[in-house]
């Protein structure tokens, strides 16, 4: 019988159809257009996380409006060789000439290796890691001192609290997080000497369940303003709103999440850096290897005040912003840590590298980093 033959033929046909549906190049694919500057951005999480990644994506959205600039983006790229391949794919398949690697763990070894492999492509990474002595010249770092905006949070929170307890949900006890916690305290103390900060470390950058538990525990402990430093502050802000306590944001705007209790929040203003890079590349100039800043050069901002901010808090916070723009120091020494040791001997400039190695919580913060 020919059943056998038919089956084979049918099989071949089915196979061919399957291949055709997946394999054959049937038409033109939209390719990266012939822009002068093609900027590729890689994010470690989703672009709409109400946090770190959203802050970058918002800035990239603004960059899309710049003439002659093409923006390509990839989200949820883990800090493994996946990011090396993503960046390489942007270079090889899309012709990117500037790569923005936005997550801490992308730098070493991935950005460093690729920068050596592709000397004509510029790589910039969002943390102060570039080393002038050892790292390739087509790589570099950019960074914003968000603790300045957290200082403003602290000022507004210090005048919004009635229990004098501000709760802080923190990810890991590393310098950049500790600096934000200490800045909230110093901001609050600058207007309310009775204010204290209670901190709970979750141990992970993104652990929503633990963040909710921590936020609830802080509210139970009498904190009536909550803020945080985790990758996605959504859970903390929503929990605060649900518990009827006020909140200050982190990384991006969380104002829509807390219509009743939102005071203000610390936000990055990456677009200042990104548009500068794009303009310089378009003009054929060399990009700086290291860019850092805060309020004085328009690299951070505070979220527009929400319903939780009292008129006097707004007034004091606005004054604090003016002070920071004039580079008024936050860390006015001498200051002790919460174990009684003098850890800051004198007054430091807001960008002093000494502060980048911070490994203590100041007196007035209850919590432990070990």
């Amino acid at each position: 019988m020919s059943i056998h033959g038919v089956s084979r033929r049918t099989l071949l046909k089915a196979g061919a159809a399957g291949l055709a549906s997946t394999a054959l190049p049937l038409g033109a694919i939209r390719s990266a257009q012939a822009a002068d500057v093609i900027v590729g951005a890689v994010y470690v999480g989703p672009r709409d996380d109400f946090g770190w990644n959203q802050a970058h994506a918002v800035a990239m959205e603004i960059l899309k409006g710049v003439d002659n600039v093409e923006v390509i983006e990839e989200e949820n790229v883990p800090e493994t060789d996946a990011v090396a391949k993503s960046m390489e794919s942007m270079i090889n398949l899309d012709g990117a000439n500037l790569i923005l690697a936005t997550s801490f763990g992308y730098y070493k070894p991935f950005v460093l290796d690729l920068a050596k492999k592709y000397p004509d492509v510029q790589f910039r990474h969002a943390a102060p890691l570039w080393n002038a002595d050892t790292d390739p010249k087509n790589a570099g770092s950019y960074f914003c001192y968000l603790n300045q905006a957290h200082y403003v949070d602290g000022v507004a929170a210090g005048l919004s609290t009635t229990t004098n307890k501000i709760g802080f949900v923190a990810a890991k006890p590393i310098p950049s997080v500790l600096s934000n916690i200490n800045s909230v305290l110093l901001g609050a103390r600058s207007v309310n000497p009775e204010a204290t900060v209670q901190v709970i470390f979750t141990g992970e950058w993104s652990m929503p369940v633990r963040e909710a538990e921590a936020a609830n525990a802080l509210a139970d402990a009498g904190c009536d303003v909550l803020t945080c430093h985790v990758d996605g502050p959504k859970v903390v802000i929503e929990t605060a709103e649900a518990r009827g306590v006020k909140s200050c944001g982190h990384n991006a705007s969380q104002a829509p999440l807390a219509p009743k209790g939102f005071i203000t929040g610390a936000e990055y203003k990456w677009e200042t850096i990104y548009t500068m890079y794009a303009d310089m590349l378009a003009a054929g100039e060399e990009l700086p290897n290291f860019v850092a800043g805060g309020y004085h050069n328009d690299m951070v901002r505070n979220t527009a005040y929400g319903a939780g901010a009292t008129p006097e808090a707004i007034k004091a916070a606005d004054a604090a912003i003016e002070g920071l723009k004039a580079e008024k120091p936050i860390y006015v020494g001498p200051l002790k840590d919460n174990k009684g040791n003098v850890v800051i001997d004198k007054t430091y400039d807001n960008y002093d590298p000494v502060l980048d190695g911070m490994n203590y919580l100041l007196e007035g913060v209850s919590g432990s980093i070990t």
Partner: protein
């Protein structure tokens, strides 16, 4: 001679799975090339058909999103296989998936649903990085240090998952639950050391162990950007295929997987077999961890927790727990992941789209399992009368 070689696909389904052997055992002696071809054709046609159906369902999903399926599959091809860079990208991503797929498949053959490969990978990678510290500072030659690190990773990963097998046999602890929970413990153990005693003081904002240094890193396969983990995966897949199909150990393991009580009654050392299979699984995952450390990161840190162990579960199911079949399935997943970025960028689609495709393939392929033995054209004429 030939008549004995007839049992058709699937070689070893999970216990309770639908088996085709029932059809073939009572077949007449005259097994011909035609019969073998039919069995082979069935084993190819059903998965390929399932993939085509998955592609069609996914296309409907894309059309609802207002995107062109043609563009999607073109980009999938381009990003996965279209250029030499794409192929290397795909194979590099497949490397850890092969090893993690094997880590699920071997326990599955003995009837255990062991989902803790992630933990063994993390601990294996961590222990390789930890033992590298004295080796590197002591100046041990690279040719000696590398195998020590790899063996350490396999031993630690193997011992970790062997606990799961032992708990199952000796204490009756459900291996799925215990292996999942042990994954969390493994990650916590690594974090404890990486953020404490073994932390490199230079790793301020991302706690890590001391870098092992370029000299002690595993290089790339010459002429490519693919690390040697791919070769290790292929070699292990072949070796485990032979172990499970051509040795008494493999036979005993599969008998146990079919019915552990019957195996006990036959006098098979069920407990030792379970511990051995789980140890092999842990060693595979631990080796994946070694390559993550020695070929990619150069140190151990939280980046080891990348979910390869869990993707391995999916891959093993799609390969029907067949070590050799894990290779093409892992490459397919590597291609989906490798092209994911390009698709995000060009079609402006969220990253989760690739997960939707993976999910559809998974459901359709598992559903297609029920089709074996149901198409008359694939059956011997005697078998065809059954329907």
């Amino acid at each position: 001679m030939r008549s004995g070689a007839a049992p058709a696909a699937p070689p070893y389904p999970l216990s309770g799975g639908r088996q085709m052997t029932a059809v073939t055992t009572d077949t007449p002696v005259r097994l011909t090339d035609s019969t073998k071809f039919r069995a082979w054709a069935e084993a190819v046609a059903i998965p390929v058909g399932a993939l085509v159906v998955s592609a069609l369902i996914f296309s409907i999903f894309l059309i609802f999103l207002g995107k062109s399926p043609v563009d999607y599959f073109q980009l999938l091809w381009k990003g996965g296989f279209g250029t030499s860079f794409s192929i290397q990208n795909t194979l590099q991503r497949a490397a850890p998936l092969i090893l993690c797929g094997l880590a699920f498949a071997i326990p599955a053959q003995i009837g255990l649903t062991m989902i803790g490969a992630e933990g063994a990978l993390v601990l294996g990678g961590f222990s390789a990085a930890a033992i590298a510290i004295p080796l590197v500072t002591g100046g041990v030659p690279v040719v000696l240090a590398m195998p020590i690190m790899a063996l350490c990773a396999m031993a630690v990963g193997g011992a970790w998952i062997a606990i799961v097998g032992w708990l199952r046999h000796a204490r009756g602890v459900n291996e799925t639950i215990s292996s999942l929970l042990m994954t969390y413990i493994a990650i916590a153990i690594m974090n404890f050391f990486v953020e404490g005693a073994l932390r490199d003081p230079g790793s301020a904002n991302k706690p890590s162990t001391m870098p092992i240094g370029k000299d002690y890193m595993v290089g790339y396969i010459p002429g490519t950007d693919i690390h040697w983990g791919l070769v290790a995966g292929i070699v292990l897949a072949i070796a485990l295929q032979i172990l499970m199909t051509r040795t008494t150990f493999g036979f005993a393991a599969r008998v146990t997987g079919g019915n552990a009580r019957a195996a006990l009654a036959q006098g098979l050392p069920v407990g030792r077999l379970m511990v051995a299979c789980t140890a092999i699984a842990g060693a595979c995952a631990g080796l994946a961890g070694y390559y993550e450390v020695a070929a990619i990161h150069g140190q151990a840190n939280a980046s080891l927790v990348a979910g390869y162990g869990f993707t391995g579960i999916l891959i093993s199911f799609l390969a029907r727990h067949n070590p050799i079949m894990i290779l093409p399935v892992a490459v397919m997943f590597g291609a989906i992941e490798a092209s994911g970025g390009l698709i995000q960028r060009r079609m402006d689609m969220p990253d989760a789209t690739a997960l939707v495709l993976q999910g559809i393939i998974f459901v359709v392929l598992l559903t297609s399992e029920t089709l074996y033995g149901r198409f008359a054209i694939f059956q011997q004429k005697a078998g065809a009368e059954r329907t």
